[in-house]
């Protein structure tokens, strides 16, 4: 066996994908920012921006080692090491086998996943979260929840010859999650639900209208998310190959199917197909196809998307029925979409499109894969929800998680950031430079 050398085509694609996935977080900031009221748009966007800052720094110091290190040989976490990523510059990636791309490229790619996951949570607690408390939460949650869960799902271990060390628990059990249906979306959705319960409802929830202040911003955000998601899903092949192509095509058609499914529900139920519905449906489809994109045929991706659009649009009603203020519907879109997408592999999964895949129920594989998928869904959901509740309550009891009521009513942009987003009138508001 000859020595494996770096492949520049694969490396170039993963580098490009890394930049695409980074763009998703500012895209998410637009998507979420447009959905809140004009008085809280800056805070909503800043919750994503500060997450980019905090998680990037933690990732270099210890995050990547905690998620993907193998020396501890634990199914639950990687290494506890503060290496600062200084010693691996010339290494190739080894994740269940050698990939001919530099390990720092893999580390940068995975960093973008670590960033967007906590950023997704922010939508559940819009308009009311103390900014410093959010920053503290992001650091603690990434350390205790995301980095370990990424290890469970994404770490396939360091393979030398036939010996593999440090394989994550769910990866070792045969969970199929190509790009993060469990580790990213179920994880963020369950955490968002927990924080919505810790913080409580916004002032005036269900009494006053909380309309999106800028649907064009929501559409811009949805467009950036869709574009970036090609890096998220097709980049997860870690190679410029047929698997990347399959993931790319499935990402496109599942998203299209979900967009149509969500609009169909709206047209039948409410009489109008809305722009918010189109944007939400697209994101629901992207979420649902994320775990499945390299394991199903494109026709199945359309079905997965269509069902996701219908299911997620109906799931928005859960928060009204149960009375929790998951402000921007992370539960309906990311938790429900993530669960459906992860389980759908147990139905539509097939080794015909991917030799590493396993046949699901519709391909004669029986229920074995579905059971593995359900295990992954249940474990990540339960751990994320409980751990986030505990972290949330500790922050609430120590530094406080929520801004004062009058500040919330006046607008969190002003109280937390000393800024307002829009100057709508040409006349001066008075005052002068200090």
């Amino acid at each position: 066996m000859g020595e494996i050398v770096l492949n520049s085509g694969d490396t170039a694609w993963v580098l490009a994908s890394t930049a695409l996935v980074l763009l998703m977080t500012p895209g998410l900031a637009f998507f979420y920012g447009g959905m809140v009221r004009a008085k809280s748009v800056l805070n909503m966007m800043m919750m994503s921006m500060i997450t980019i800052g905090i998680v990037s720094v933690l990732w270099v110091i210890y995050g990547f080692e905690l998620a993907f290190g193998y020396k501890a040989d634990s199914p639950w976490y990687g290494n506890i090491s503060f290496s600062g990523l200084g010693g691996m510059v010339n290494d190739l990636t080894n994740n269940g086998g050698i990939y001919p791309i530099p390990v720092l490229v893999f580390a940068a790619f995975q960093l973008m996943f670590a960033i967007i996951t906590p950023a997704l949570i922010s939508g559940a607690i819009a308009d009311r979260t103390k900014f410093t408390a959010w920053a503290v939460f992001v650091a603690i949650w990434s350390t205790i929840v995301y980095f370990p869960v990424a290890h469970w799902v994404f770490a396939f271990g360091n393979k030398v010859g036939d010996t593999v060390t440090g394989t994550g628990f769910l990866a070792g059990k045969g969970l199929e999650d190509f790009a993060g249906g469990t580790a990213v979306h179920i994880n963020a959705g369950a955490a968002g639900l927990a924080l919505a319960l810790v913080l409580g409802k916004r002032v005036g929830w269900r009494k006053e209208a909380m309309r999106p202040h800028s649907l064009p911003l929501v559409m811009l955000g949805a467009g950036l998310l869709w574009f970036g998601w090609f890096g998220f899903n097709a980049g997860s092949a870690l190679a410029a190959n047929g698997t990347a192509g399959l993931a790319f095509m499935n990402t496109q058609v599942a998203t299209a199917g979900a967009l149509l499914g969500w609009l169909l529900v709206e047209k039948v139920r409410n009489g109008h197909a809305t722009s918010l519905g189109a944007a939400s449906g697209a994101v629901a489809g992207l979420v649902a196809i994320t775990p499945a994109c390299a394991f199903v045929a494109p026709w199945a991706a359309v079905v997965i998307g269509l069902v996701a659009g219908i299911l997620c649009s109906l799931a928005v009603g859960i928060k009204y029925a149960l009375g929790f203020d998951d402000s921007l519907d992370g539960v309906a879109v990311h938790l429900v979409g993530g669960i459906w997408g992860s389980l759908s592999i147990g139905l539509f999964g097939t080794s015909i499109v991917n030799s590493l895949g396993v046949d699901g129920i519709f391909y004669g594989g029986g229920t074995a894969l579905l059971v593995k998928q359900a295990l992954g869904v249940g474990l990540v959901l339960a751990y994320s929800f409980v751990a986030t509740l505990i972290i949330g309550f500790i922050i609430e009891k120590t530094i406080g998680f929520r801004i004062k009521k009058d500040a919330e009513v006046e607008g969190i942009d002003l109280s937390e950031h000393a800024e307002t987003a829009y100057e709508m009138t040409s006349s001066s508001r008075g005052g002068s430079l200090l």
Binding site: A209, R211, P212, E266, R269, N270, S280, V316, Y320
Partner: protein, 112 residues
């Protein structure tokens, strides 16, 4: 002297403005307003949650006129603003004690 205030459908503003200029009115003040009368508001749906929106966008137009012109100018506005459907708005007059043109200091009807 009278102040005529008209609440109009926004898309009718240009017609009313042209009709007033044709009738010899030389100045007016226009501002954006919102409100409701018998027309009431409308319903909007966001991710399946229905909101009733009570206040409808309107335009407020204000014109200062001499007493003898007031009735005719009101008629001009009503004629130009009417579509015959609900929500066309209202026009009313209020007496004005004094008017001063800022640039010249002219007072009363001279300042109109």
């Amino acid at each position: 002297m009278k102040l005529i205030t008209a609440i109009l459908k926004p898309f009718k503003l240009d017609e009313v403005k042209d009709a007033l200029q044709a009738a010899g009115v030389t100045g007016m003040t226009v501002s954006e307003a919102s409100g409701f009368g018998r027309q009431r508001g409308h319903t909007e749906v966001y991710r399946g949650a229905e909101y009733t929106v009570d206040l409808v966008p309107k335009v407020r137009l204000e014109v200062l006129v001499d007493d003898k012109d007031a009735a005719a100018i009101v008629d001009v506005i009503v004629k130009a603003a009417s579509t015959g459907s609900i929500g066309d708005g209202k026009v009313w007059t209020t007496p004005v004690d004094s008017i001063v043109r800022v640039r010249t200091g002219e007072r009363g009807t001279e300042a109109i």
